[in-house]
């Protein structure tokens, strides 16, 4: 293998699994260290700058960081990154002083932002400090988008939502709530310099099976139901409820139904349980509240008796996997589940009936707008998409990432610059050596299991929609959990000319990831290591040839970043260096803490 080019920031960035996996590349290990130091406000700000909604995301993020977390490969469970983020939000105190200044003299550019969800709010936040005049249109009476309408308040309290949404609106965004855009053409005629469309994927999928029309009064689309509950239009539901669908919306539906007084709630899924789309932790939460998950149940008919819904007929399915592709095969066995109400959470779709098809904005064969992956711009210059509106349902953190990119593009567009001239990320690599065997980070491996988050008493939380189920870590629990972070951003940096091949690093490495061996092609080299490197998603760090002609090969997969290689190295050929990576944004004023951190 060719020697690894560590001057390419991509290499070390990828080693920081959590940050690499996060769509907004939040510097996770750094904010966890800040929490460890009790610097909650600083930890919050690093999050806020990067992902805009730390309090919200600390509760309901899809957390792509956690499955990626190296800790989850070393032992069973990843660091509770998401819940630690919430700690920063819960304990931050007053942070108003850290907010970017908003120029009173505007730059003369007017931006229309449609929808008040996470993508739109991110665009507004990134552009306001630059002096843009942002006009936000939202059909609902309040901001937040699906964070308000589709996430029940027992998972995301209103006060948290109001605070973080309000902070952005407080930058002086001109808001027009209750204003539904009916025609993009008309809006474009108003002479905005750019338009951002962040209207989400608002249409819940329906199920056209017998009985659907006759029982319509008792069959509800999941996200519409959740919205009605959020805006307090719905207060009750039948005693027996069947939820159809296996995603996170289904989990929210069943738990909401319980809180509206349903006594017998079941979730039914077509696929086997292991293929369910819902996050494991959301399934766990539903089951903890006593909701059974019935898998392999394919709905065939809504049974109507006396003009009312009496139950749902299912056919049991069986899954077969051919070449990794799943096929659901009907078994012929039928099951009837009696119920009073059905909640359907089988997916969401985009809908753009309000975008005219003759304004130079192209749609693809699935009636989705053609949007550039990098710039977020549609085929009509000046019109940008983001969040679920761009490519269908994703999650909040992706919407925020889209918002950042769209804001950069809008800024470039408004200044007549090419959208391809995107600002580069900032990076740095600095030794963390403080003295002999002393490092600036906690390198001692903490042999701790993931700390469980305390929950509210179920008797109480099940009766009240507004009682938050998770209580969050207190400072003591957080202080324990932070120690589980392996500080993967503190990199093992190898300086070949200093190496005397004494084997000390190889001998001390607790996870046997360092090797001195003959070089070869990657597949052979991976096999030839002390412990074969079978996780192909993790890179090998390969040095140039050493004096004996061998090379140093480090499998990054399970490195604990404990620094013992550097401590046992007699010549300083190994050093622990903190790698910082700061994703560029439209406004440097929104990166003050990041810029302090990268220095």
């Amino acid at each position: 293998m060719a020697p690894t080019d560590i001057s390419n920031p991509k290499y070390f960035h990828k080693v920081v699994d959590c940050q690499w996996a996060c769509p907004t590349h939040t510097p996770v290990p750094e904010y966890i260290r800040l929490i460890a130091q009790g610097r909650y406000a600083a930890a919050y700000m690093l999050n806020w700058e990067s992902n805009v909604f730390p309090g919200i995301l600390g509760r309901v993020c899809d957390r792509p960081c956690e499955p990626a977390c190296r800790r989850g490969r070393v032992e069973e469970k990843p660091v509770a990154i998401c819940r630690l983020k919430r700690v920063a939000a819960d304990y931050k105190g007053d942070i108003d002083v850290f907010m970017p200044g908003i120029p009173s003299v505007k730059n003369g550019k007017r931006i229309a932002i449609i929808g008040a969800g996470p993508a739109s709010l991110t665009v507004a936040r990134d552009l306001m400090p630059l002096g843009y005049h942002c006009v936000l249109f939202e059909k609902d009476p309040r901001g937040g988008g699906l964070m308000r309408t589709n996430i029940p308040s027992f998972r995301l309290p209103e006060v948290v939502l109001d605070e973080e949404v309000g902070r952005i609106l407080g930058f002086g965004v001109e808001v027009r709530f209750g204003h539904e855009i009916k025609s993009l053409k008309a809006l474009l005629d108003d002479g905005f310099d750019a338009v951002f469309i962040g209207t989400g994927a608002p249409k819940g999928k329906d199920l056209d099976i017998p009985g659907r029309k006759a029982a319509a009064a008792s069959i509800h689309i999941g996200i519409d139901f959740l919205t009605s509950v959020a805006f307090e239009h719905v207060h009750r539901i039948g005693r027996r409820v069947v939820v159809i669908g296996g995603g996170n919306t289904a989990m929210d539906c069943c738990r909401t139904a319980l809180r509206l007084g349903a006594e017998d709630v079941k979730v039914t899924v077509r696929s086997p349980r292991k293929d369910m789309k819902a996050s494991d932790w959301e399934i766990e939460d539903a089951e903890r509240e006593g909701v059974p998950i019935l898998d392999n149940h394919n709905p065939k008919e809504f049974i109507v008796e006396g003009g009312r819904l009496a139950g749902v007929r299912f056919e049991r399915m069986r899954a077969e996997y051919v070449d990794g592709r799943r096929k659901l095969i009907p078994t012929g066995e039928e099951v009837v589940i009696p119920c009073d109400d059905v909640l359907m959470a089988i997916g969401q779709e985009n809908a753009f009936p309000w975008i005219e098809r003759d304004i130079g904005l192209e749609f693809d064969q699935w009636s989705m707008p053609k949007v550039d992956r990098l710039s977020m711009m549609s085929s009509r210059p000046g019109v940008f998409f983001g969040g679920d509106a761009a490519w269908g349902p994703e999650n909040i953190i992706w919407a925020v990432a889209h918002g950042h990119q769209a804001a950069i593009s809008i800024d470039l567009h408004c200044h007549g610059k090419a959208l391809s001239e995107r600002p580069a990320p900032g990076t740095s690599l600095v030794s963390q050596k403080m003295g002999i065997h002393e490092w600036s980070y906690s390198n001692d491996y903490a042999d701790l299991q993931r700390v469980a988050v305390p929950h509210a008493e179920m008797a109480k939380s099940l009766r009240n929609l507004k009682v938050e189920v998770e209580l969050g870590y207190d400072d003591k629990l957080a202080a324990k959990e932070v120690e589980r972070c392996l500080n993967c951003d503190v990199q093992t940096v190898f300086t070949r000319p200093l190496c005397i091949e004494c084997d000390a690093c190889m001998d001390i490495c607790p996870v046997d990831c360092i090797n001195f061996t003959e070089n070869g092609a990657e597949p052979e080299l991976r096999q030839a290591l002390r412990v074969p490197a079978r996780n192909a998603s993790q890179d090998l760090y390969v040095s140039d040839a050493l004096k004996t002609g061998r090379v140093m090969v480090k499998d990054e997969d399970l490195c604990l970043h404990c620094g013992l290689c550097a401590e046992r190295c007699p010549t300083g050929a190994w050093d622990m260096q903190r790698f910082t990576y700061v994703e560029a944004q439209a406004s440097p004023a929104c990166l003050a803490h990041h810029n302090a951190y990268i220095r």
Binding site: C502, D503, P510, E567
Partner: protein, 351 residues
């Protein structure tokens, strides 16, 4: 030395041996030796060898004298028996332990000071008595624990770190061991685990006196450019005379060995040493030839390493003096101590 302990976490795909243990289970406490010390590499090689041999840790006794080398047993086989004894007196303590319980594997760890200076007399006699043990010398040519003075194994051509010349010729412990009757004599280098691990395994498999002289650079005092015990020098002058495979009893020989260049040595327990000869003039079963090889190579400025000499028929101390086949702790008390009356009768017989 590091302030933290070695993390308990280990690679989940780590190989397990017949006892269901990983090599991490054969570790000891965190080393307090200097970073980069060759002794730590030898430690790692011992751990690997014991792991590969499926040795239960409680069947091993590690015994040492005084010095950096003699601290090392703390850093491996944390679940074995151990005795960190008096300077140069490791052989006596090992002899005593071995006579009391012949069923353990005795791993003596010593250094060039502990063996070639203060312990030279003890060394000579334990070899002569053919005690069934593995005697490892971690040889760095200096007294690392007392700031790097020359030891008795330092080459005459090798000055101190400051440049002071060494006025005396070295003691070659391998030559001495062969002359004194050791049945298994090998030399290796801490920086060459591929050679060292099979040698340690073979030494453990050998019944009789097995001597291993391992050149182990002292990174702090004797790893300078003029030293002949530095990593660079030993790498440049290391002449392996053979390549050893240790094939434990009951295992099949899977590699092809060319009869002209290979020697198979069968040990007492049926395990075999497959030696691939790199130096055709060398026959490891011939003590005179072994001495010649060492001396000739040394004269050429090279360090001959590998299995230098092996006597497949050596009798160990127990065989020679005809001790009880059972360890003392397995003999019933009444038999072990027959009482005053029996003593009386023995005494009476001798009057």
């Amino acid at each position: 030395m590091s302030y933290i302990q070695k993390p308990v976490a280990y690679h989940p795909a780590l190989k397990k041996n017949a006892l269901g243990l990983t090599h991490r289970d054969y570790e000891g406490a965190m080393s307090t030796l200097c970073a980069g010390c060759g002794h730590d590499s030898i430690t790692a090689a011992i751990i690997e060898a014991c792991f590969e041999l499926d040795l239960p840790a409680h069947r091993v006794a590690k015994i040492s004298g005084i010095g950096c080398s003699s601290k090392a047993p703390t850093y491996f086989l944390g679940r074995s028996h151990g005795f960190n004894s008096v300077h140069g007196r490791m052989p006596s303590v090992t002899t005593g332990a071995n006579l009391a319980n012949r069923e353990l594997v005795y791993l003596g760890v010593s250094g060039d000071g502990d063996t070639a200076s203060i312990g030279l007399g003890q060394f000579a006699h334990v070899v002569r008595r053919r005690l069934n043990m593995i005697y490892v010398v971690m040889n760095n040519g200096c007294y690392g624990l007392t700031k790097g003075q020359f030891s008795a194994t330092n080459d005459r051509t090798s000055p101190s770190k400051k440049g002071d010349p060494n006025p005396f010729d070295p003691i070659d412990l391998c030559q001495m061991a062969i002359q004194l009757g050791a049945g298994f004599v090998a030399r290796s280098f801490s920086g060459d685990k591929r050679q060292l691990i099979p040698l340690i395994k073979a030494a453990i498999g050998y019944r009789g006196f097995a001597f291993l002289d391992v050149i182990s650079p002292c990174v702090t005092f004797n790893n300078h450019p003029a030293s002949t015990k530095s990593y660079d020098y030993v790498r440049a002058h290391n002449q392996a005379i053979d390549k050893l495979d240790f094939v434990p009893e009951e295992s099949e020989i899977t590699t092809d060995y060319d009869e002209g260049t290979s020697v198979a040595v069968t040990l007492h327990d049926g395990s075999r040493l497959m030696l691939h000869k790199l130096d055709q003039s060398h026959d490891p079963r011939d003590a005179d030839a072994a001495l010649m090889t060492i001396r000739r190579r040394a004269a050429e400025g090279e360090v001959a390493t590998g299995l230098l000499y092996v006597d497949e028929n050596q009798q160990d101390l127990h065989d020679v003096i005809g001790t009880s086949p059972r360890p003392l702790n397995a003999i019933p008390m009444a038999e072990l101590c027959p009482g005053s009356a029996k003593l009386e009768s023995i005494n009476a017989r001798l009057r």
